[in-house]
Chain length 119, copies 2
């Protein structure tokens, strides 16, 4: 059901390879991968999903409000994550050097559509 | 001993409020805060330090190499983190709307100096 948005976000971001919507317990709702994606987007979601939960709790502990967005840059993988609600997030993976600014912009502007589907 | 770099990074980034060098077990080596900093940078380091450790492990699990950089955007706090080594990181906190791009650039370019001090 999220397929159109997930594909759009990947295909409109230079260097992007995959995207998914997942809940914070690691259950994927939908995902989209380019055929040449070097990482399994569901594995990325599961690994970093656990971390997102901790980040959301840490932000609350610090009275910094809700966590909105997390960017993780590793040697061979850039992961952009946007919290859609306290329960769901969207992740977009890029190759190093991909256009992370554009990716973040698209996740932010397309989030309301996804959120509508989720409610 | 890291004081000059920590202060420079804060004072040269629009919207930045504090910075610190910490090890991944949450022990701060040095920190710098503007007098009006709305959050205790050591508390931020401790809360997000735990998360950084998990992120580094997750990146390894995914065969994505070493984690280099993490950005966390919450409602009232933006935190930029750069891994200096498998043991230490530098964190920079900004108000929402601060110049995160400039902050990331400074953390990246000043990291070698800090790393030299650490070795």
């Amino acid at each position: 059901m999220f397929e159109a948005v997930l594909r759009d976000v990947v295909e409109s971001t230079e260097g992007a390879v995959a995207s998914l919507v997942m809940d914070l317990d690691g259950i994927p709702l939908d995902s989209y991968s380019r055929p040449d994606a070097p990482f399994d987007i569901k594995a990325v979601g599961v690994e970093f999903g656990v971390v997102i939960k901790s980040i959301a709790q840490a932000a609350q502990m610090l009275s910094a409000g809700n966590a909105q967005e997390v960017t993780i840059v590793a040697d061979s993988l850039v992961t952009l994550i946007r919290l859609l609600s306290p329960r769901y997030f969207i992740a977009l993976t890029l190759r190093p050097g991909g256009n992370a600014g554009r990716g973040r912009y698209l996740l932010r502007t397309r989030a309301p559509e996804l959120l509508e589907e989720l409610s």
